[in-house]
Symmetry: C2
Subunit: 433 residues, 2 copies
Amino acid sequence: MKSIKIGLIGFGTIGTGVIKTLQTQRELLTARTGMSLELVKIADLDITTSRGVEVAPSMLTTNVNDILENPEIDIVIELIGGYEPAKTFILRALRNGKHVVTANKALLALHGKEIFETAMQHHVDVGFEASVGGGIPIIRSMREGLVANNFSEIYGILNGTTNFILTEMTEKGEDYHKVLQHAKELGYAEADPTFDVEGIDATHKIIILTYLAFGQYVTMDQVFTEGISQLHPIDIKLAGELGYKVKLLAISRRIDDRIEVRVHPTMLHAQHLLAKVDGSFNAVYAVGDIVDSTMSYGRGAGMMPTASAVLSDIVDIARGINSGVANRVPLVYPLSASEHALTIQPRNRFLARYYLRFTVLDRPGVLSSIAGVLSDHKISIASVIQKEVHPVDSVPLVMLTYEAYEHDMQEAIQKIEKLDGVTAKTVVIRALL
Amino acid sequence: MKSIKIGLIGFGTIGTGVIKTLQTQRELLTARTGMSLELVKIADLDITTSRGVEVAPSMLTTNVNDILENPEIDIVIELIGGYEPAKTFILRALRNGKHVVTANKALLALHGKEIFETAMQHHVDVGFEASVGGGIPIIRSMREGLVANNFSEIYGILNGTTNFILTEMTEKGEDYHKVLQHAKELGYAEADPTFDVEGIDATHKIIILTYLAFGQYVTMDQVFTEGISQLHPIDIKLAGELGYKVKLLAISRRIDDRIEVRVHPTMLHAQHLLAKVDGSFNAVYAVGDIVDSTMSYGRGAGMMPTASAVLSDIVDIARGINSGVANRVPLVYPLSASEHALTIQPRNRFLARYYLRFTVLDRPGVLSSIAGVLSDHKISIASVIQKEVHPVDSVPLVMLTYEAYEHDMQEAIQKIEKLDGVTAKTVVIRALL
């Protein structure tokens, strides 16, 4: 029986999950692949702390060269995350003719093109199923299952931490900071949660999906990114009264020859399937011209679900090694003859419906002046909520608009905030069209 | 550029969709595969009626041998459906060294084992992504994306016709026969809808998924199948009042060394993601020991979504031909050393919660005698709905039980129906645990 030799760089949570899976599913994986998948080396700076999984001490090394320069190793799993030294390690592995499996979305979002091109030059593969959507096989679905489709849009809940926080804020009406603390205690949020809560992680992931859907790498600064740290429970509650749920959505759309990529808290109609994706689950909605709408749902993070995705890549690459084939599915998105670079839709041209919460003095004329400014900017109002609040002077005035351009909306808001009787910054949440 | 030659047997709706897709996506498919996918022959008994798609007359034939015996053809697409002559055609194609792509779930459910074994003997592939869930890439996800998982259960909405009918009955409160008529007019139901509405189509599909999940082919008579033709809008409405939605679910579960496979109208808690899958959409829930819960959603039928799945198989096989590899993913489910045949859970041993609608005379003592019989059979009642109804004598009495065995439930119902004051057959709907 053929044996595939694997080296693992990064003995953290996901790495531990991969080792566990290789151990518990050994018999299953051997049966399904007809090969023996053998982990031979694990490199980490810390090789003394126990991770609750048994490994032969001889397997452990602090020297990454024991993997990168090891002629015996076929597949390198990179699970250290971050840009460097992950990038250097991956490129060295590829240049040494080793296949790479990685969950590193930050790296692929910024340097995916170089990594994929290097892999194809050296006739080796890069598996990155674990980089988006954890255990959800969305990468494979887009590259293979839906291969006959031109995508028009792909959007979803791509970050489990923020979805957990928003779900708790929605269900319990609790404050962001309190829920974040709770999420940290449960292990759903990291000590420094910035990448998650500010939408950066979701931005990395939507950049990868945008590449798969449209063949183009957009840069971080071409994505409009807004996180959830400024959200107040009152807005989630009022959105609920209007029939909407608030989710952190990552959205990538093709509109003619433009692509529009954005990540922000988004109001979804309560009947939308994504509105029902709660807790730490993720889901990706992809719309193709042949298949119409599809959605994939599952655990977007966590030791074992992510390990499931890593293993699917290992099996795929092992099958390729066994039959002497690499790049069966091309890593560099093959543009067709008539395809060409798309331009980036500027934020000003975004179309959305808008939830607006103004803070106003409870006196006559304020509602009418705000409505007047909106109307001047061709923005129509779909619903209004104003409630009696005692005994304060300032009250919340909530409006849901019909479709409007971001440019018009920002101008209108600037003018409204200068109106007499408007006492605070306006809260804005965009609604999915 | 390598050219892959394709023969299509069956110029019906799906066949037309496949031809359209090959035409409109020609450039895209060439770019993504680096090959030219060329349809060279179309066999059908009727080659004169226009299908609204342009094909060269020389491509059409009424003689299937022009495809099966054509040495030029690499891939045969079988889209005539049914058992014969589809089975004969497929086996002949495989024996002639041709790869086969099929959407024929009825055939695969009954003869999949023979077809898959024949394919592997002749080192050719069978693509069957289109046989379950239309455009949803569920077959690929189970065989590849989730390859590292032992599945514990897989269940879903696998028939678009019945889901459309149930959605209409739920939303409009309309009668089954009226909605069925409407579905026929819209093309969502066939002239003879038996296979769909009696759950036979869903049974075929769950047999295929059971094979993929557990490596075992169950027979039609080993699946408990109940359709939707006996459902009344009143039960859908009352289930709604209890917080449930009624869906035709196909369920396959592994419980220790037994598998339980069943298709029946099922009450799903309104918060369950599957409860939100409406209209002609399908969705499959798969639970693996590593990945946890996953769900895939999309159009379960229709010309273009099914063509999307057929094309994904063609591309996959073309990539295999190009690299000289067949059976990269084994068609015959590879059992691991410790796996062995599972026994079939008999219906008597099914566990479920039960919705029961009794028809009783509106007089004292009836509720208490029914509750007594249930209690004698160790069945506990979770909720009761009894409403005043005038001016009839018989009234509906609805109960939702806690978990109970089918055996106990059937015995209890038999006794209850003999009670004084119980005037009609009991309506039973099982709820998902």
